[in-house]
Amino acid sequence: MKILLTGTALTMALAGLAQAEGSLNIYNWGNYTNPELIEKFEEEYDVDVTITDFDSNTTALSKIEAGGHGFDIVVPTHSYVQIYVGKDLLMKPGIPEMENYGNISEVWKNVDWDPGREYTVPWQWGTTGVAVNKTAYDGDINTSAIWLDTPEELKGKVNVVPEMQDIMNLSVMYMGGEPCTNDKELLRQVRDKLVEAKSDWMSMDYGMTEKMSNGDVMASVNWNGSTFRARLNNPDVAYGYPKEGYIVWMDNVAVLKDAQNVENAKLFVNFIMDPENAALISSFARYANGIDGSEEYMPDEMKSAPEIVVPEELKAAGKFTSSCPKEVQDLYTAIWTDLQK
């Protein structure tokens, strides 16, 4: 016991000696930040970085709104950026004047959710489609029918991630509507479809990178990067872009208005717009990043990956969804409750 205590004291003393100039607190999605990127930033600027995970946009928003969180940087999805701005939670860190601003790809510079990139810079972007294990099913996988009209071979082996907004919008598009529709007749059909489809599902769970890799789950609604990581572990896993409509999203880095370490946060924002660093982000989580010139620093398998390169004929089916209005949200929640009762 005594040795243990001495050891602890020693570690604490060393940690004290090695203390950096400043600190930076980042609030990001779990299993999403490359440790190498953080180490590099820490060394370059002598800053101590702490990363805290969240699992959904709503969790992140409510924690930040409550205040007293101590975070400097948050990474919301595009559909939430305007909510943050509307609640006056973000600062304008002078992004267009930053050294690396010019590296943002032209398509990602003037985006609806942040015209002129005053508040946010790209972290990663991706799609929500389907992951299928080809040994279990070898038909067409570019369709949400994988989980909404589950083929015989996949019955009882399908997972649906419990991401209400995405699942509802994917189902609405499958039934021929637009995301965030308030067409009640269509929503009734959507509910009936989901309730009927559910009997063929095995679970509604997260963690598909691992469960698709080890074959616990044979097909799932999933994100492209997660599917990519699963394929690297298990070559039978493939990613499909539902032709009825799939979801395109971008997660963005923003500096919080009540940040304690504003200068370090600005350094970080500029840092991740450097192509070499953006490539580090992507080579970990396996999503594209929206920074020009980062491809040349990426591992080769990223450049031609079917999970990253959207097939030309399916590009039009991708939809950027926004956060739905309150009345639609209530309908979505009611259907979701009916589904999970």
Binding site: S56, T58, T59, L61, S62, E65, I83, K87, G156, N159, P162, E163, M164, Q165, K184, E185, L187, R188, R191, K198, W201, M202, S203, M204, D205, N214, G215, D216, S323, K326, Q329, D330, L331, T333, A334, I335, W336, T337, D338, Q340, K341
Partner: protein, 297 residues
């Protein structure tokens, strides 16, 4: 009115606990209670307008499509599932825990601490980690299925994970110590001469169990049942990880309202309802145990 000194000291000594209760229990409960009567904010939080809408929505639902009002069938289903699974968990832990507690209580006194110590070991590990360990056991390619396949009892993996059975196994495992410890305390005080006496009076083994052992150890049985039933009812992690999320329990349903559902008042009202159910169970406990003492006297 003058209090005797020792009573006054006792009162003073309890002040830290009272402060902790006021700030740690009463305060948050009050907030939950108030929130249940407010309007939901657009994305999270509440708007400070009084309404009983949340309570209305706990018990009734307006049809999503034609606006007609009916009983909230989905909510009833979820609450009933929770109560059912919690009762079953209590029964399973009792059936496993009673013989276990009996065994420990009948060991020589110097060996009992070691056995009790073994019972408490699982508490050293985080609940989340223990639940993931169970997941590894129940998976299709997990320990249990591999073992059964190896034995040749089954020829393809059983789908146990992501079913109510998986939730039951998980909760029974997690809450078993909470049943064993009060049972042990009750059996430990049990006077074993009573068993000899009843055999002398020609009681059968079944009669001894039913007429002697169970009534005398009843306070322990009830305490253990409450300790298992109450946390089972609010279980969140176990159904979330082992149940596969297809069918919610109350805990998950409340979380949905505070998270993706963006309806805090409804979540608060559901929490209060859960609290009421727990209180009813506790009152029943007080009645049952105090009743037994009157008869003993």
């Amino acid at each position: 009115m003058a209090m005797p000194k020792h009573a006054r000291d006792g009162w003073l000594l309890s002040i830290p606990a009272l402060i902790l209760l006021a700030f740690g229990a009463a305060g948050p409960l009050l907030i939950v209670f108030i929130y249940a009567f407010l309007e939901p904010g657009d994305f999270s939080g509440v708007v400070w307008n009084f309404t009983t809408e949340a309570w209305f929505r706990v018990f009734f639902e307006r049809d999503i499509f034609d606006g007609t009002v009916s009983m909230a069938d989905a909510h009833l289903t979820i609450f009933w599932r929770s109560v059912k699974l919690s009762l079953l968990t209590t029964l399973i832990t009792f059936l496993i825990g009673f013989p276990m507690a009996w065994f420990i209580a009948t060991q020589p006194p110097n060996r009992r601490p070691a056995w009790l110590f073994l019972i408490t070991i699982p508490f050293w590990t985080n609940l989340l980690i223990r639940t993931f360990a169970i997941l590894e056991v129940l998976r299709n390619q997990g320990l249990l299925n591999s073992f059964l396949l190896w034995l040749g009892v089954i020829d393809q993996p059983l789908q146990i994970l992501y079913t109510d059975n998986a939730v039951l196994i998980g909760m029974a495992y997690v809450y078993l110590p909470l049943m064993v410890l009060p049972l042990f305390a009750a059996i430990d005080r049990f006077d074993f001469r009573l068993i000899e006496a009843s055999y002398d009076l020609y009681a059968s083994r079944w009669q001894v169990l039913r007429r002697i052992i169970l009534p005398i150890t009843r306070p322990g049985i009830v305490a253990g049942s409450i300790l298992v039933f109450v946390p089972s009812l609010g279980a969140y992690v176990t159904p979330r990880i082992l149940g596969g999320g297809k069918n919610m329990m109350v805990g998950n349903f409340i979380e949905l309202q505070f998270g993706q559902g963006r309806n805090w008042p409804l979540g608060a009202a559901l929490s209060m309802l859960l609290l009421v159910i727990v209180l009813v169970a506790l009152l029943a406990y007080v009645r049952v145990t105090s009743g037994s003492e009157r008869r003993d006297a």
